[in-house]
């Protein structure tokens, strides 16, 4: 179902006209009200009046996570505190948390976007939504909650944790939509099994999963174990929270970005240059309508690509692919961007091998070499050298096909890939640059 038929199916030209008008507004506003942006624009030699067309967005400087930290806690707010009705913050696991604020209208916008997202995932006013995203400073819980109410659905604000109670509520209330992180969905499946509750007997029709990276394989696993349609939702608090982009039930192929509120760009994370549609690179967002915490060209560090192809669901909004990795994990090998997650996907697609691997990058002379160590489990182990050599060649071939990078594959014994605190070390970069 399309929640906002008018905006979600706007013809491209009409959408871009709205985007341009809103972009000009937000750029003028941040220049006038946020010292950080005024300074950054001045340093880049750009004035709000230089924005004459959408393409002029590339004249604006980027905003990065560090900028938000440097302006901790409220330095990036564009309205006086009396107009701020809500504050959220990131967990700050890698340093100072980033703090975001919302005006009353921002909260409404966010609810609208989450209502659109839930509707795209099959939810209607008749549905009961089991919302297991955490409520609190984290945007997940309240974001979904307001969207569900906006849609008119019945929301169970169960939040995260206390898994046993969650299963009992599911069994007794029979919710039809599940919202949580994909890993928690699998955890719920395990817990239900232990408690003798079968998801097949519950009434879930879809699940809206996000807030962490996941894969197509995980989607299949969740769908099999939870008997529902598993959909991907994207959102980061710096942009607004959940509801920036959402997969539609009809296509399940890329997440529609609500472009009347955000302009997405894909850039080369090394050079900052904007890449043409279809290219894979770092996702950058500019918010168009947010009042309290507008953001200009925010580098998300998420890696994906954009498609402007029409979708069978009728939405005209661009679609972003499932996030493929983070720029933080990116390796550049002979000019090719390589993410451990891409190698993992290649391995997951092969039945014989398990995704226990490590990338070793070395430099021989001036040439980078990539060696992929893959642990040999019982499924892959053949008594014949020839078979194992063929397996190495096949993995190498598949990597070349998918990533366009040559890799030497080396089979190693199980559990030999270094694990630190239970997490495997995926990349060893031996290049001395």
């Amino acid at each position: 179902m399309i929640f906002n038929m008018e905006f979600e199916t706007l013809p491209r030209e009409a959408l871009e006209a709205i985007q341009l008008r809103r972009l000009k507004e937000v750029v003028s506003r941040v220049y006038a009200t946020v010292p950080f942006y005024r300074k950054a624009f001045d340093e880049a030699g750009v004035k709000p009046t230089d924005i004459k067309g959408l393409a002029d967005i590339t004249k604006l400087p980027f905003t990065i996570k560090k900028d938000l930290r440097d302006n901790y806690p409220f330095g990036m707010f564009a309205v006086p505190m009396e107009n701020v009705v809500r504050i959220h913050a990131s967990s700050g696991t890698t340093g100072q948390p980033t703090v975001v604020g919302y005006t009353r209208r921002d909260v409404d916008t966010w609810a609208e976007l989450m209502a659109r997202s839930l509707a795209a995932g099959g939810a209607t006013a008749d549905d009961i939504i089991h919302n297991a995203y955490g409520y609190g400073l984290f945007t997940g819980g309240l974001g979904v909650h307001y969207g569900a109410e906006k849609l008119g659905a019945s929301v169970i604000p169960i939040s995260g944790g206390n898994t046993k109670r969650q299963i009992i509520i599911m069994r007794d209330f029979k919710p039809s939509i599940l919202t949580c992180t994909p890993s928690y969905a699998l955890h719920l499946a395990e817990a239900a099994e232990e408690m003798g509750v079968d998801f097949e007997n519950l009434l879930f029709k879809s699940g809206i999963f996000g807030a962490e990276p996941w894969s197509e394989n995980m989607r299949h696993e969740i769908e099999k174990k939870l008997y529902l349609s598993a959909l991907d939702i994207y959102g980061i608090s710096e942009v607004i929270g959940p509801g920036v982009a959402m997969e539609c039930l009809e296509a399940k192929n890329g997440l529609h970005i609500f472009e009347d509120h955000f302009i997405p760009e894909i850039i080369n994370p090394e050079t900052g240059e904007t890449l043409p549609p279809g290219s894979t690179g770092e996702l950058v967002f500019t918010s168009l309508t947010k009042e309290a915490f507008p953001i200009i060209r925010y580098r998300t560090r998420d890696i994906t690509s954009l498609s402007y192809e029409p979708c069978i669901c009728g939405r005209t909004m661009a679609r972003m692919k499932r996030v493929q990795g983070r720029t933080d994990d990116m390796l550049i090998i002979r000019g090719v961007n390589v993410f451990p997650s891409q190698i993992e996907a290649v391995l997951m697609d092969m039945d014989q091998v398990e995704p226990h691997y490590q990338l070793v990058v070395e430099r021989e002379g001036t040439l980078d070499t990539l060696t992929v160590l893959v642990e040999v489990g019982e499924k892959a182990f053949s008594d014949e050298i020839r078979d194992l050599q063929n397996l190495e060649r096949e993995i190498s071939h598949n990597i070349k096909e998918t990533l366009a990078v040559s890799a030497k594959v080396k089979l190693v014994e199980p559990k030999t890939i270094a694990r630190s605190e239970g997490k495997a070390v995926r990349v060893v970069d031996k290049r001395k640059l």
Partner: protein, 143 residues
């Protein structure tokens, strides 16, 4: 008339072979024959032992990738041309030998070879048909 062989995946690095023999020694498993096939990166250690299940369990517990493979132990006349005769016969029957290696304990007048065929059943019946002696597993492990 088949025998079980244990195959172990080994990385080509110092001390791995000794690690296998250590595990087997601690488990009280006696190695009857072995062969090592290798490339520059990895190798496959093939073993005939006196206690298959114990050996497999112990090696798996020690973290090795292990599998059991079906092989045939065949007596080869211990004289010039003895092995050649056998191989020519197999060739004439269109039976493919994947690999083979010698067993450490010779029997009276014959040498003993371990063969891995692509089709063990067909190979064993062909050999028996021609009068070659194929030793069954139980006898082999305790020879």
């Amino acid at each position: 008339m088949h025998a079980q062989q244990i195959s172990v995946f080994l990385e080509n690095k110092a001390g791995r072979l000794a690690e296998v023999t250590k595990v087997l020694s601690q488990t009280g498993v006696n190695i009857r024959a072995l062969s090592l096939a290798d490339t520059s990166d990895f190798g496959i250690l093939r073993l005939i032992v006196n206690k298959n299940d114990e050996a497999v369990d112990a090696l798996k517990a020690a973290g090795f990738t292990v599998r059991k493979t079906q092989v045939a132990a065949v007596e080869v006349p211990d004289r010039p041309g003895g092995l050649n005769e056998l191989l020519e016969y197999l060739n004439s029957r269109g039976i493919n030998v994947e690999y083979m290696y010698a067993f450490v304990t010779p029997t009276k007048n014959n040498a003993l070879m371990i063969f891995r065929f692509d089709d063990t059943d067909a190979a064993v019946s062909a050999l028996l048909e021609k009068g070659f002696a194929v030793i069954d597993g139980e006898t082999l492990y305790t020879m």
